[in-house]
């Protein structure tokens, strides 16, 4: 190893600050290089392994599928939840309407056999029940075919 301090010319050069700086820089650099070369085997092995790993990362296939899997799955779950929430709300009136329609149809059929609902029927109907009974009977007799 170079030891600047043992050199006579170095002793003379130390008097000048720039020369002293140059000696310090040169000596420090020499020691730094030696220290780098004298790493213990374990550390040197770990550095080699780290270099291999870094270089292998070039050839590693980009895991785009895995990268997109989580956000895609999360989006799908959110979309599914939205569909579940939105569908009953949007179909609710339709279902109600269909129920209403079917109920209306059924009530229309039943109306032929049952008396009208007291709450929904015109009160005048109840006041003239005899008239409407006569009218219905009269219409029925008029609609009968004359075969006699």
């Amino acid at each position: 190893m170079t030891t600047p301090g043992n050199n006579t010319s170095d002793h003379q050069a130390v008097d000048h600050p720039d020369s002293r700086d140059a000696l310090i820089a040169r000596r420090a650099r020499t020691l730094y290089r030696e220290a780098s070369q004298q790493l213990d085997p374990a550390t040197a092995g770990r550095l080699r392994a780290a270099r291999r790993q870094a270089l292998d990362s070039i050839n590693a296939k980009p895991r785009r599928a895995a990268r997109w899997l989580i956000p895609t799955g999360a989006f799908a779950a959110v979309a599914f939840a939205l569909v579940l929430v939105w569908q009953p709300m949007s179909h609710a009136p339709t279902i109600t309407d269909s129920h209403t329609v079917s109920a209306t149809d059924q009530s229309a059929d039943v109306d032929n056999d049952l008396p009208p609902d007291a709450d929904k029927t015109d009160p005048n109907l109840y006041q003239n029940l005899d008239f409407y009974g006569w009218l219905a009977a009269n219409n029925a007799s008029n609609n009968q075919p004359v075969n006699r």
Partner: protein, 195 residues
């Protein structure tokens, strides 16, 4: 200062380290040990230094492998410098949190290794032929302010030129010269009896 750099450029800096290998593998093989030493000098912890070098390698390969080989040295040392700064900041935050939590002291008021055990493995300094000189130099470099230390290590120890050092440090060439001049002044005072 310029005369120091000039004289170094003439002899010390013009060695094999100035020739950048053509392949990334060869380049990393050339700088990995020095990078570890540099990180160790800054971080004073071998595991953190290993992490910093490993991360710098990964980032260089991942982001800059297509760059011309001549650009790899300033890029690599710049990445390593930023990684070192990140680790130092993280360590500082960690020490603050530990302080708030009341950790870090034993019953007698001594420091305790709260998060990580102290690095007690046989250090490389023990293996050095003249470990005393290296230890003195390392201690003096550690005592430098951050930017001066970076300028000294990149410019003087690693041998980057002023432009490469400025690029690695993310500052102007004038700032590099200023930091380096102050660093040399401090080292001259601290290493007065150093040989």
């Amino acid at each position: 200062m310029s005369s120091v750099a000039g004289s170094l450029d003439k002899d010390v800096l013009l060695d094999s380290a100035r020739e950048t290998p053509a392949t990334l593998d060869a380049f990393l093989a050339q700088v990995e040990r020095r990078a570890f030493r540099m990180a160790e000098l800054n971080l004073r912890h071998r595991e953190d230094a290993m992490d910093a070098v490993q991360d710098a390698m990964l980032r260089l390969v991942k982001h800059y492998r297509e760059k011309p080989a001549a650009e790899w040295p300033p890029l690599f040392w710049g990445i390593l410098r930023r990684r070192i700064v990140d680790l130092q900041r993280r360590r500082k935050v960690r020490s603050i949190v530990v302080g708030w939590l009341g950790g870090g002291k034993d019953d007698e008021g001594g420091e305790l290794p709260v998060w990580e055990p102290a690095d007690r493995s046989p250090g490389p300094l023990d293996r050095l032929h003249d470990s005393k000189s290296y230890a003195d130099m390392a201690e003096a470099v550690k005592n430098l302010p951050q930017r001066q230390r970076e300028a000294f290590m990149l410019r003087m120890l690693e041998g980057l030129d002023v432009a490469e050092t400025a690029r690695s440090m993310g500052c102007s060439e004038g700032s590099v010269k200023t930091h380096l001049s102050r660093a040399m002044h401090h080292l001259r005072d601290q290493l007065e009896d150093w040989r």
